[in-house]
Symmetry: C3
Subunit: 164 residues, 3 copies
């Protein structure tokens, strides 16, 4: 499936879900290379522990301000994971879409997620559970203007050098 | 996001999904206080083991008949959980909506769920897996007229003093 | 809920989701008997390890070519599982639907899944995580023309005599 073949069923909700699910596919089956392309040029991506988010603390485990930093991150991942393949599966649920209220037609998006990681010998563990709080523009094509991944699990913190 | 900002994409299916996902958010991020408000005044809420449901046995782990009993439950939870924070994440999937067949326009709703619980040190465990069988009215605003949570997991039965 | 009570909300996407979720219900709550009926007469069903799928290897753990083989499989399951009840819960997420590009109006469908299994004493384990790649026709009624279940988990391979 290419980018945005949504068969005319082009409600904003459908287009946002399509964006999110293609994003997951790029991470799970595409080796991260396409990851920055899902964001606008100035978009901010953050991995934040739930605790910090609840308290309004800015500290995040990963922070990428702009697509350039995301591209640097992809290079770093490629160098780091020569030895251990990282097979993940993102399950997004409870997807909600609402008008952002600004003039730009930005949409507020929320979703819950579970990410599973499978080792080379076929053992699957829950890597992370939490939620995604994002902004999305639909034109000229659907992209994230920001994404906060608010995670609850600390089980394998070392793996969180990867975006979720 | 407030109650029901669904951007005109107001098919019954979308409105039911929105209700279910706001319900999850009230449990996961809102501390239970808003839980009764998702039900009609006379609604019945039940937590039922799958085994009992399959055999038609009435025995349930939790039974709230009417919103008043739900409000009592919320008070009891607040008193009980002073010491151990209860951080959960509800993932609803396989949501189906069908006409209930009665004159009131009640909708029959089914969904599968997984609920994860994360402890204070960041360990996440699967709390419960099962399905939800519910009735929903859309007017004057979307609310549950009944909810049966048919659960399969007994892993941490003590925690099921909380609604799911 | 019977087959296809989708309340006029009959977009192709909704009808495909409804098919997938009724399929899950047949496996989880219906004892497999209705499983073959979700496929067209000549449909192919395959359970494939992710590794083989990625390399284009044909080797699959289960292969049913046509509905007749699926019916044989159902008989075999019934004989095999006299002693250990097999209680599962399928969670499908990230459902995407696109035109298949052929003249027959076949739709390409993708979804991620997690399947949980609960033992008789109420312990739930993750049985399998992966994704579904399927073809669907909507007329005369929605059915799968093929289904590849690309699984990542090998945790309990003995249980994969059951379709997923």
């Amino acid at each position: 499936m290419g980018s945005e073949e949504h068969m005319g069923d082009a409600s904003p909700r459908s287009r946002v879900e399509d964006l999110l699910y293609r994003y997951a596919e790029a991470l799970d089956d595409g080796g991260f290379a396409d990851w920055p392309g899902f964001f606008t040029e100035e978009a901010e991506y953050r991995l934040i522990p739930r605790e910090n988010h609840a308290r309004g603390l800015p500290a995040s485990l990963m922070l990428c301000t702009g697509r350039g930093m995301m591209e640097d991150r992809v290079v770093a991942i490629r160098e780091a994971c020569v030895f251990s393949p990282h097979v993940c599966r993102h399950l997004y649920t409870n997807v909600r879409v609402a008008e952002g209220g600004d003039a730009d037609g930005r949409l507020d998006v929320r979703a819950n997620y579970a990410v599973y990681r499978t080792t080379e010998d076929g053992e699957t563990v829950l890597l992370s559970v939490g939620r995604v709080l994002a902004g999305v523009v639909l034109e000229p094509e659907p992209r994230f203007t920001r994404m906060d991944v608010v995670y609850e699990t600390f089980r394998i913190p070392g793996l969180l050098v990867y975006p979720i």
